[in-house]
Symmetry: C2
Subunit: 410 residues, 2 copies
């Protein structure tokens, strides 16, 4: 009989969001009157419309595909040059970072990229993730056999968890042992915190010393307000030799339903083969993308390119201003109601300490019962998330003001 | 140092299309006058514009995303119900096949699906492919360690090649040994041939007996003209217990640059785990898709859905009529010029015997030199392709008539 990939059986069932849905439903069953005023602050999805510049460009692209003279079929699997070029100029050169066009790979999402990049890496690599962590980093490694079984607390044997706490400003300490692949995500989901130039430099130094690989998830870089915070790992000297960067148009431009992202793979980045020779990662990723992917919709790529023209840039700024305005309102309301709050100044997430003596789920239940507000329990993101909860700034202004109002009565 | 997936080093460099490009360039360098009348008949990409029904639906979808009340962010990773439902009705129920909506998984392409489905299958499975073969089936398995090294002729140790020749009507004979996973593609690329109900039944019977998995690539099913030829493997009784089907909107609706396809995974389909227990594949694929993918663009899915309304259906029929009209013209011209021709009656590809004593590449060179026509040498698709060449019907009518004209002077 043909065999299955049994690593999938190690996966703990997705627990966090189904359990949230279950508790919300149970609450609504007993409090049907709450259905009209329940506000969901747990969601990491955008709410505001797609920028006009992107819509106009996509309308035009559709019409191009409707005419014989301008029809386009298969595009380059790595993405169209027009978009790769804009990215190198606006996202990198403008910040003093030199990235070649052929080091940019356009994709349909960072979630896909984060999973797919693992295809080109050896199974024996020791993986390190931040705790709390975006669960997909862990699950995609478990699926590929880079862990042992799950523990009772949901973590996996064989994966290194790097604790992020107020004491280390939510940037993990450099580990004593050697790890091969390190996931870093800044601005961070779920904690909403950022990493300074110095903090990232320490990690780049570690990675170069141990010849480790940093997978740097910068999906939220556009939300950074502080001019001293790096937007890209490549702002750190030496990062081209040790880091892959993941970026996305999802959150900054309302593209979660449109699907466009990209990965940067510098040519200097070397790994080791089973024969013990060093090889550049770049041709491996190029081969992976050209053989197992067929490129992103031309229409979508034209929409993404429009985000770099002045009108598109201005609309992205308006979106960021909206969500970061939400974050400020939420942060002020939480501080006024005597909460200890992290994040929310350079990221669209707030990470809040549960009041003394409450677990994450107890806070969840209380917020639901008393305020009809759905938050995300921090323990759902890992052991170090226990005693915290996350509130998302992705919402309409009206709902955010209502949440602030309710919190002021707590 | 972090390690690379060294299986990638087993891959032979992509040879076929780069070598074609090299020879065409060398020819044009010495015959610059030919640049204006060179006709490329090697390409498997569509040429005709996107149907109006799809364009209109995509324009509307873009406007929905532009309004707060109708904005949509993340969609279901498995695809929107509106599209899954249309597929079950029009592609399956209409042909007497019962497929549940949640057995349909919408994706951004069959190439991606064909690669990704391998993630959920054990590494030890014995793979069998048709010869000649679409190279991606082989390469994606080599990348995952399901082969040994490449042989001199480009094939891989450890992969079973099933010869397709005129003697077996280009449907491979049932092998004597047991294989775990069998790729079947009908209508076939590159041979343009189809498989009868009886031929597919023999394979389903084999797969059920050995508890093997058939990966059935039906990307070209819409080109079938003969009412007796199955469009889906599920038209064969028992196939739900042994087959996954891959379908695509690329070729039938001009979607190669738009990107939409789907995979069917029936719930009855069982594989074996490392612990020796049988498990349904369906939850494995659901987990793979929800964890490593974020769904297809809402705009694209609305465009695909429009292909099922009467106007969209009529436009797809017009496209099929155009390409199959091309195929008929090419076939008639090739027969009139005394070629032995296969395919081209239920598929957009013609598979032609090289004249006595010529290799595939010799025919390629002669067609280029004498006729300024670029064909695809059959040997590029595998050992059993030697002595054949492929001509694609994906072209404008004008160019196809010109090709026919030139062939009549051969």
């Amino acid at each position: 009989m043909f065999s299955l990939n049994s690593n999938y059986l190690k996966l703990k069932a997705g627990y966090l969001f189904p359990e949230i849905a279950r508790r919300v439903q149970a609450f609504l069953d007993t409090h049907p009157e709450a259905v009209t005023d329940l506000i969901r602050c747990g969601i990491g999805d955008v709410t505001e419309p797609l920028p006009l510049a992107a819509r106009e460009a996509m309308h035009e692209a559709i019409e191009e595909l409707g005419q014989p003279a301008t029809f386009r079929g298969y595009g380059p699997e790595q993405g169209y040059d027009f978009l790769r070029k804009l990215i190198t100029q606006h996202d990198y050169a403008a910040r003093g970072v030199s990235i070649a066009e052929d080091e940019i790979f356009i994709s349909d999402g960072s979630k896909c990229d984060g999973a797919n990049i693992l295809d080109i890496l050896g199974t024996q690599n020791q993986i390190a993730v931040m705790d709390p962590v975006y669960p997909v980093y862990v699950d995609t490694n478990v699926m590929r056999g880079r862990s042992s079984d799950a523990r009772e607390d949901g973590s996996y044997e064989g994966i290194t968890y790097l604790e992020c706490t107020p004491e280390n400003a939510f940037v993990p300490e450099i580990p004593k042992e050697k790890v091969d692949i390190i996931y870093l995500c800044y601005p961070n989901n779920p904690t909403g915190t950022v990493a300074s130039h110095a903090a990232l430099s320490a990690w780049v130094e570690y990675a170069r010393r141990h010849q480790s690989l940093i997978l740097f998830d910068a999906a939220y870089e556009a939300f950074i307000q502080d001019p001293n915070i790096p937007h890209s790992i490549y702002e750190i000297p030496g990062a081209r030799e040790c880091a892959i960067e993941l970026r996305s148009f999802s959150k900054k431009a309302g593209f979660t339903g449109v699907r466009c992202a990209f990965t940067v793979v510098p040519k200097e980045l070397m790994g080791i083969t089973s024969a013990g020779t060093q090889r550049s990662l770049h041709p491996f990723w190029l081969r992976r993308m050209t053989t197992s992917f067929n490129g992103v919709s031309y229409i979508t790529q034209r929409g993404a390119a429009a985000l770099y023209i002045p009108q598109g840039k201005a609309e992205v700024e308006t979106l960021i201003h909206h969500y970061m305005g939400n974050a400020t309102i939420l942060r002020d309301a939480l501080l006024a109601s005597h909460h200890t709050v992290y994040g929310g100044t350079n990221a669209p997430y707030l990470w809040i300490k549960s009041p003394q003596g409450e677990t994450s789920w107890q806070t969840f239940d209380r917020m639901l019962d008393h305020h009809h507000i759905v938050v995300t329990p921090g323990s759902g993101f890992g052991k170090a998330g226990e005693g915290y909860f996350r509130i998302s700034a992705f919402n309409s202004r009206k709902k955010v003001l209502e949440v602030a109002q309710r919190l002021s009565h707590s």
